[in-house]
């Protein structure tokens, strides 16, 4: 009997067992990390011995490594925080992301620009409409497509609704993290109303996929106008009642005040974006500094706070919701009648009337589905929008076919997470949930 040949590579050992190696690396990184907090303590010169050396017996005063997540309800999805505790203080923290990685940047390369749109819904799944719009705007910039005015106004209304919806979730979950479970239900009721609007406008409550390259998919029905107006009125009242209740609530304020503080310089250096950046006093909002759609034509303010802690971000987000309502109302008043997609078969789908009843229309329909928008060869474009979480941008490279050569997504949750290790270090372990809530990352977007 012949002996089995000795294949050198049959036992791969731990070569392909990703997890243990990864885990080891995480702990290594935690150990090797430069804990600025020690340095700070030394610089402040309180000169005392580090807590760990005080006592050998009391476990609370010993260092401990704690894994929070990935399946932790307060981590907003699947974020794993490995923290090294010194008593109750977090000395070092390492974040481990990637538990929701789906590789959508790579997926985009095998999809036409139009086909990729539903995938953007699933990035920041708390405000899918903003992602749709960000993607469409980037492609439109790349291919030089003009969208009709009505489509721009529709997109704006829906984007602002998405912002409110996302902030409602942030508030509800924030309240729940801080112990007020029923608060979650009140904000979710408002989100439900927004979902009904999305349902009426786009046809789906969650994954809307309503924006299209060159415009939007369908026109607003009279009922959706009614719903949006009714929501604006009722939400104003509801928001006021939340403010009345929370703004002077000792429990809420003490839970948030001076927690998770980032100074202006730190915020810029860490690359924070969105409300986290504005909460630290940096006046940056893409809607104002690089107005897209019709944001330069409506009147609204951008709330700013200087303190940079969770409380500042709370006030700021509540005010942002107010401003969103203002924007929506102006959009409703100013929305003109007109086409909802670009009237050029190389840039957007023709209307179905045309497809059904004319030969050219049908050919356009087939060509646009199969080949899609063809951006010029070698074109590059970056377009960012102010999504509820911050600056959401798509960088596209075209090779002249209907599919992007490369897509790079600048996701606000990902950038915001960069600052989180830094913020967590030095805070109390009980505050982590509040901090995560207040930074408001969405893992679908951070992991892409």
């Amino acid at each position: 009997m012949a002996t089995a040949p000795q294949f050198p590579g049959l036992d791969f050992g731990d070569k392909f067992r990703f997890w243990p190696k990864h885990n080891e690396k995480i702990y290594e990184r935690l150990e090797a990390k430069h804990a600025w907090i020690e340095e700070k303590r030394a610089a402040q010169g309180d000169g005392g011995v580090p807590a760990t050396e005080w006592s050998e017996e009391d476990p609370l005063e010993n260092e401990m490594i704690l894994n929070m997540g990935p399946q932790h309800p307060a981590t907003h999805g699947v974020l794993r925080c490995v923290v090294k505790l010194d008593g109750e203080t977090i000395e070092k923290a390492v974040l481990d992301i990637g538990y929701l990685h789906r590789g959508i940047e790579k997926l985009a390369e095998s999809k036409t620009y139009q086909e990729f749109m539903p995938y953007t819904d699933r990035m920041d799944y708390l405000s899918p409409y903003s992602n749709n719009v960000a993607w469409c705007l980037a492609v439109e910039k790349l291919a030089g497509i003009e969208i009709p005015e009505r489509a721009a106004w529709i997109r704006m209304i829906m984007c602002e609704l998405a912002r409110i919806s996302s902030h409602c979730l942030w508030l509800g979950v924030g309240l729940m993290d801080a112990g007020a479970v029923s608060g979650f239900l009140w904000t979710f009721q408002q989100r439900e109303d927004i979902y009904s609007i999305f349902d009426e406008v786009a046809g789906a409550r969650f994954t809307v996929s309503h924006a299209r390259i060159g415009g939007v998919a369908s026109d607003l029905t009279p009922r959706s106008f009614e719903l949006i107006r009714a929501f604006c009125d009722s939400f104003r009242e509801e928001l006021a009642s939340w403010q009345k209740f929370l703004n002077r609530n000792r429990i809420w304020i003490e839970r948030n005040k001076d927690v998770g503080r980032i100074t202006k310089e730190e915020a810029i250096e860490l690359g924070m974006t969105g409300p986290n950046l504005r909460g630290s006093g940096v006046e940056y909002d893409v809607r104002r500094f690089e107005p897209y759609l019709k944001y330069d034509e409506v009147d609204f303010t951008i709330p700013i706070r200087d303190e940079g802690d969770c409380l500042a971000r709370y006030f700021l987000r509540l005010e942002e919701m107010e401003q969103s309502i203002r924007i929506i109302e102006q959009c409703l008043d100013r929305m003109p009648e007109g086409p909802i997609r670009a009237d050029d078969a190389k840039q957007a789908y023709p209307s179905k009337d045309e497809v059904y009843y004319s030969m050219e229309g049908m050919i356009h329909d087939f060509m646009y589905t199969d080949v899609g928008t063809q951006a010029p060869k070698g074109a590059n474009a970056y377009h960012a929008v102010e999504s509820p979480k911050g600056e959401l941008g798509f960088y596209l490279t075209s090779d002249g076919t209907g599919r992007p050569f490369r897509v790079r997504i600048n996701a606000p949750s990902f950038t915001n997470l960069q600052g989180m290790e830094y913020i967590m270090e030095g805070s109390l372990v009980a505050d982590t949930v509040v901090i995560i809530g207040s930074i408001d990352p969405v893992m679908g977007e951070a992991d892409k």
């Binding site: 139009q114 086909e115 749109m117 539903p118 910039k141 790349l142 030089g144 009709p148 009140w186 009721q189 009426e200 046809g203 789906a204 996929s209 998919a217 369908s218 026109d219 607003l220 209740f245 703004n247 002077r248 609530n249 000792r250 429990i251 304020i253 005040k257 504005r278 909002d285 104002r288 034509e297 409506v298 609204f300 303010t301 951008i302 709330p303 700013i304 706070r305 200087d306 303190e307 909802i340 997609r341 009237d343 209307s351 009337d353 059904y356 004319s358 049908m362 329909d365 087939f366 589905t369 010029p376 060869k377 070698g378 074109a379 590059n380 474009a381 090779d399 002249g400 076919t401 050569f405």
Partner: protein, 239 residues
């Protein structure tokens, strides 16, 4: 100036006065807020399986095929399968002897893959596949989730709501006007009227197979396969 950044901080928003600092009143205020919601507001939720939610016409439920006069409207052009992002649709075409000439022999949508995006409806040149209002589907096995013609076909009459919605808000011509007539859509050599007319004119029917000389004719400039080349870098997007 639109979008002015303002620090809207009010004076004492971060400081509480003595009364607000008392702990217990806050607890009761919180309870009061919830109680108020419980008593004053009408019930917002549905007792789901007993009470069913009826979606609006714009709702994108599971895709169905429209059946008209006992036949599917579908001409099996495969465009929906091409447009479907998660590749949920597959079909086999066959030739039939009516005006439409083609029909699906079988047509399958894998409902486990479908993401209810509505792209199939949006691209279909025959309005043959549309989104229904059905949203609660359960399967006992994976095979059961692959819907064939038997479960996909729905008579046109049952889908009137959706068809009307599409007609009103989705299909409307927005650009240049065409003179639309339903007949424009028939380009068939199996149309009996057309054949009769040909016979009247003294022609004996048409050959209905046309082979292209060069089936692979294309400029050959763009590669769609795996060997895609990176384009030359240019600094700016074209305006």
């Amino acid at each position: 100036m639109p979008g002015t950044p303002v620090n809207t901080k009010t004076d004492n928003e971060r400081e509480l006065n003595f009364w607000e600092n008392l702990y217990f009143p806050e607890l009761f205020k919180g309870l009061g807020f919830s109680l108020n919601k419980i008593t004053d507001e009408p019930t917002y939720t549905l007792q789901y399986p007993e009470e069913q939610w009826y979606p609006p016409d714009s709702y994108r439920g599971r895709p169905v095929l429209v059946e008209e006069n006992g036949r599917p409207r579908c001409v099996s052009c495969n465009l929906c399968a091409r447009a479907c992002p998660p590749l949920a649709i597959s079909m086999q075409s066959q030739e039939v002897d009516n005006v439409k000439e083609r029909e699906p022999e079988w047509f399958e949508i894998n409902m486990l893959r479908c993401i209810y995006c509505g792209f199939c409806e949006e691209v279909c040149p025959e309005e043959a596949i549309i989104m229904s209002k059905e949203y609660d589907m359960t399967f006992q096995s994976r095979d059961e989730a692959v819907f064939g013609l038997d479960r996909l076909l729905k008579p046109k009459e049952q889908m009137q709501d959706r068809l009307e919605y599409l007609d009103q808000y989705k299909n409307r011509q927005f650009g240049q006007q065409w003179d639309f007539q339903q007949d424009n859509n028939l380009h068939s050599v199996k149309d009996q009227h057309f054949l009769d007319w040909l016979a009247d004119e003294g022609m004996k029917g048409l050959k209905n197979t046309h082979l292209r000389d060069d089936p692979k004719a294309s400029s050959g400039e763009q590669s769609w396969g795996s060997q895609r080349e990176e384009p030359a870098f240019s600094e700016h997007a074209p305006e």
